[in-house]
């Protein structure tokens, strides 16, 4: 009985928020009706990037504390799913690790408005027993393209390199390929594959000679070792200054200009409170970036 009631309530809520959205979509650019957080209501549906999902969930929980009338659901499912859903109008916000133009055809991508909420750094991470703590960028590319197969070739132990990759569709992989390997493809058929970052960490920790890549937010213990690249440590200070180049934007896309509670929620990400959440959870502030990047040319 309780469940049925909840389902009916959720359905009613969805209908109400839908009509609220329709009401604010006025022709002069979709200004929000509500000027501040007080009295906001409606629901925001979000799906997409699993790399960004923990942050969005945390931000949503905090946002709801001051905006009790707003309900926010955050689903992971992957960047492709998020972009697809927001383009189809089935969610209000689609999270993505990549620019929409990299996953969607031009006509669909051009309807979406990009909101960059933070940056995420990606580190090459190895099992601590390999005997080196840093490599050059060229060596990094040689390792992942299969030219270097033993750690002794980069000054480490005589130990076979065990590559652990992510599915080719992964957002983290596309950041790593573009900025870590300068666009070179990883060698096909030479690496194990794991997409779940937690599981990936376990595999690196228990496999001698293994190397993979993880978002900075997962670099929390010493069972895995982030590698210095050209002597630069993978930290956000180095990302901000432009010394460390393997990073990407985290995008939240809306279809057209956002309005109402979705707009307020997106604006919330630049508040001091949200910035603290962002850095606490291992993401980087886009406001501190001294370098900028644009969507890739096709």
């Amino acid at each position: 009985m309780k469940r049925i009631f909840a389902a009916v309530a959720a359905a009613l809520f969805a209908v109400m928020s839908f009509s609220a959205c329709a009401g604010t979509a006025n022709p002069d650019g979709g200004m929000a009706r509500q000027p501040s957080g007080e009295g906001l209501s409606g629901s925001i549906n979000i799906s997409g990037s699993s790399a960004l999902q923990p942050l969005v969930q945390e931000a949503a929980d905090n946002f709801k504390k001051t905006n009790k009338g707003v309900s926010i659901t955050v689903n992971a499912g992957g960047s492709g799913t998020g972009l697809q859903n927001v383009a189809d109008g089935t969610v209000d916000i689609g999270d993505s690790d990549v620019f929409a133009s990299e996953k969607l055809p031009d006509d669909k991508a051009s309807e979406l408005v990009d909101h960059i909420v933070c940056v995420v750094g990606v580190a090459a991470v190895a099992n601590p027993n390999i005997g080196v703590t840093g490599i050059t960028k060229e060596q990094l590319a040689d390792i992942f393209t299969g030219k270097i197969t033993n750690w002794k070739d980069v000054g480490g132990k005589d130990l076979q390199v065990v590559l652990i990759s992510r599915p080719r569709s992964s957002g983290t992989r596309s950041i790593f390929k573009k900025y870590g390997l300068d666009g070179k493809d990883e060698k096909i058929g030479a690496s194990l594959t794991e997409d779940n970052s937690g599981m990936l960490k376990q595999i690196i920790a228990q496999t001698p000679g293994s190397v993979a890549y993880l978002a900075f937010s997962y670099l929390t213990d010493d069972k895995t070792m982030p590698l210095m690249i050209d002597g630069v440590k993978p930290t956000y200070d180095n990302v901000y200054s432009g010394k460390y180049s393997i990073w990407g934007y985290e995008h939240m896309y809306t279809k057209g200009t956002p309005s109402g509670s979705a707009k307020s929620f997106l604006e919330y990400f630049s508040s001091t409170e949200a910035e603290k959440t962002i850095t606490d959870m291992g993401y980087g502030l886009s406001s501190k970036m001294t370098v900028k990047r644009n969507a890739p040319e096709k």
Binding site: S50, A76, G77, G78, S79, G80, T81, L83, Q84, E102, K103, L104, P105, Q160, V162, P167, R168, S169, S170, G171, I188, G189, A190, S191, L192, T193, E194, D195, M199, Q202, I203, Q206, T207, P208, G209, S210
Partner: protein, 295 residues
């Protein structure tokens, strides 16, 4: 009176019929949907079925067209791992079924049967996790490998998972062998072992085969547990101890990160369709075997 009769006669019948028809429609709808999405690779993106089935070149495009959709690595991975799992599980299953029915029915009913039932209830993620933390490091240390992710690890995990299916069906088949067969065999002076392997197992063979095919179908469709221990390396397995990948792993790994309508997404749907077709073939096999049994 009239409503009473209505309740007794028609209400139950209507509900049952409706439920039956609903299931049929659901099955057909899923099949039609998979066919619709899965055929796009061939009709919209113009790849040949031969390329999909036999080429190892898997590199579909994220937007638009122009990639390659050879799924041979995944297909071979699925087949090799499932068959190996069957090879490991079947002898154990038949032995367990014989033990349960003939050799020690008491222990069988009290201990083995419940144990087998518990096996069925364990979620596949648990099998995968245990495989990942126990079996994979074990294989690595026994065979002195860099890692234990391998065809063998996947097959062993799957074997444990399909063991209860085959055992249960095989035990039913053995129970179904007429008592006269056994008595005649004993009457001719057979020992129990001779009776078992010369009379009872051959007589129950069609039923046992049904269990084997059911196990194979389950093995083929299992995604989670296998994908956790086979390493998901996009290459044909070089041996029992080398990693590979399979159809279900590839679908689960990439479905969320591709957008619907892209060549890549279509190719994943084609894989799903292939899984459906394969399971359909298995069902047909069971039917044919079952018919032989009755004849």
């Amino acid at each position: 009176m009239k409503t009473e009769k209505f309740k007794k006669e028609y209400l139950g019948r209507t509900v049952v019929t409706a439920a039956g028809i609903f299931i049929i429609i659901l099955t057909l709808a899923i099949g039609a949907f998979l066919f619709y999405r899965g055929s796009a690779t061939f009709t919209v993106n113009h790849h040949s079925v031969a390329e999909f089935l036999f080429s190892p070149d898997w590199n579909p495009a994220d937007i638009g067209e122009g990639g390659t959709v050879g799924a041979a690595v995944f297909i071979v991975g699925s087949i090799v791992i499932s068959l190996l799992a069957l090879l490991i599980a079947t002898p154990f299953s038949i032995a367990a079924a014989l033990f349960m029915v003939e050799i020690s029915p008491k222990v069988g009913a009290k201990i083995l049967q419940p144990a087998v039932e518990i096996f069925v209830g364990i979620p596949s993620v648990v099998y995968g996790w245990v495989g990942l933390t126990v079996l994979v490091p074990f294989l690595a240390s026994v065979f002195n490998l860099a890692y234990g992710y391998s065809v063998l690890a996947g097959a062993v995990v799957l074997a444990v998972m399909i063991f209860p299916t085959i055992t249960t069906v095989a035990a039913d088949a053995i129970r179904g062998v007429p008592a006269e067969y056994k008595e005649a065999s004993y009457g001719l002076g057979s020992t129990r072992w001779q009776m078992l392997h010369k009379v009872e197992v051959p007589a129950a063979l069609p039923g046992i085969l049904t269990g084997v095919v059911l196990g194979l179908a389950r093995a083929f469709g299992e995604a989670l547990a296998v994908s956790m221990v086979i390493g998901k390396m996009q290459a044909f397995p070089a041996g029992l101890l080398s990693p590979t990948t399979n159809l279900t792993s590839e679908i689960t790994a990439d479905m969320g990160n591709t957008t619907s309508g892209s060549e890549w997404n279509n190719a994943l749907w084609s894989m799903a369709l292939l899984l459906l077709i394969i399971s359909f073939i298995f069902i047909l096999l069971i039917r044919i075997v079952g018919r032989k049994r009755r004849a």
